[in-house]
Amino acid sequence: MAVRSLHVSELSARGFRNLRGEPLRLGPRFTVLSGDNGQGKTNVLEALYVALTSKSFRTSKLSELLAHGSREGDDEAIATVRAHVIEDGSPRVQTVALRKGHRLVKIDDKRPASLAEYAVQSPVVVFHPGELSLSMGASAERRRLLDRVALYSAPVALDSLGRYTHAMRARQKVLATRGVGASDLGDWEALMAEHGAATCEHRRRAAEKLGARASKVFGEIGSPGMALSVTYAPGGPEEAEELRRVLAELRPADLRRGSANKGPHRDDLALTHASAPSGRSAFSTLAAPLPVALHPVRGTASQGQHRAIVLSLKAAEIAEIGAARGVRPILLLDDVSSELDRERTRALFSFLRAQEGQVLLTTTRPELIDIARSDERVDYTVCDGVLSALVDG
């Protein structure tokens, strides 16, 4: 499939966090937002992310996105973000309006059938310092990565997960209020099993695609002689009948724990790295039989290796959702060079240049961004929520 071009030409935000002022005109390649900390650089990336997906990468609470000062007791406060998107030469306007507890999405003034459908229109991938926890931290971040990738190959993945989560919460509430013998427990467990099995299937497929790509990238940017393996680690039985049986069995334990011990809400992406036997490149171990020593990366990898793993996962995400939609995803990089050493920053920017997609990045030190000021690069400074174009000096 030919790769179509995709970029946002203009972004406007009203009532969104601290952002004020004129719409932002974006370059088709690189837009660099610089400014001191706390001025609203990340808010700009977030506004674009919300406009394209209707979700934030920083918070699940929509009310936090409403302009400062208008949150408390004001049910009428509305935040609107609007992106002018150009895909393969044809323009469209994507709008997301947020009000306490509500969100309204429109593509060219038409409402899409579902939020899932909206979210896959214009693929966007964000990379922020917090994402170093992808490799080192708890499993939630890795599950989110799987779900983002799954969404692009099957929009129903989001629906299955939502239904699973709802049934899981309902079951836990029944356990807590009416005990392990409640007459409707089995019904909630049946629904957990049905939608949980569907969620597992989507995630397993996403993990396979993501894993193959991440291992390949790691072979290129990781330490020589090291190989990365990324596999789906289900948090319970993947098959519906078996999950249902296990849930029924674990009722007393789940009641004591206050949450279900087994199920896709405990899924993870297992990251293991291995030293390749000498004389082979890290690359060839992917197809060859598994190398001798496999280690979970948590606890054993060095800081530098963790960063290389995270970069590999993000590069895999970019490649996979780009391939699924046939476009190059838009990349949002939040203060990334602050977390990477000089060498990996250079590797990142050479990767970005090779990507040929649109990139927005924030930095406190624009002079360190290794992209020449040219037609390809547009610079803005952000000060107290207001953007101003930086005259090329």
């Binding site: 059938a113 929009p155 309902a170 409640a182 019904d187």
Partner: protein, 205 residues
């Protein structure tokens, strides 16, 4: 800016579904500038509404009370309709759903409105469902088939599973409405979630 009574009535209108503040203000201004008779009739009808219209004692549908009767109980038109097939009973969550099915004109049987769905997160459990009323109605009226038409939400599905199990010992046929692609449309325009449900619920030819 607006007189207090106008603002107050506007606020009340804006609590109706689908009515925003602007529309509410238009309603009030319209009433003020039109024939006062409209306001009077409207007010009188509203005053009588709850006294005249009651839930049907048999099915929970909306029913008009017999003005000549001393009893507060009412039976709806569908329950009184002798041409209906008394062996078939369609169980719905809300009166709105009953109307949606009734609009199709294809439902020959009668209805039973649950009034609520299982929803532990909102504190609604099996004891809150009118199970005794449902079961005694099935027994008394000789119902042989129950159609579960609760919505395809998680709560609706759980309620359907629960009812299916609870009605099992009665030895009657229990079916669930299908979910699938809209009629007359191109498959091309069907949203992926509806389409995948239609695939999952496919039928043998």
């Amino acid at each position: 800016m607006l007189p207090e009574s106008v603002a107050k009535l506007g606020k009340l209108f804006s609590r109706l579904p689908g009515v925003g503040e602007k529309t509410a203000a238009r309603y009030v201004l319209h009433l003020l500038t039109s024939d006062p008779e409209i306001s009077r009739t409207l007010g009188e009808e509203l005053l009588q509404l709850h006294a005249r219209v009651r839930p049907c004692v048999r099915c929970g549908n909306l029913a008009e009370r017999d003005a000549n009767s001393a009893s507060a109980d009412a039976v709806c038109d569908i329950c009184r309709d002798n041409k209906r097939d008394g062996h078939m009973l369609c169980v719905v969550g809300r009166v709105h759903d009953l109307f949606a099915i009734e609009r199709t004109g294809t439902m020959r049987g009668r209805y039973f409105v649950l009034g609520k769905l299982l929803s532990p997160l909102e504190g609604i459990g099996p004891d809150d469902l009118p199970m005794m009323r449902l079961i005694s109605r099935i027994r008394e009226e000789g119902v042989t088939e129950v159609i579960l038409a609760t919505p395809p939400s998680v709560d609706g599905e759980a309620t359907a599973l629960f009812l299916k199990r609870e009605l099992g010992p009665l030895g009657i046929a229990v079916s669930r409405i299908a979910s699938g692609v809209p009629h007359g449309g191109d498959l091309e325009y069907t949203d992926p979630i509806t389409m995948s449900r239609a695939l999952a619920g496919r039928q043998k030819l």
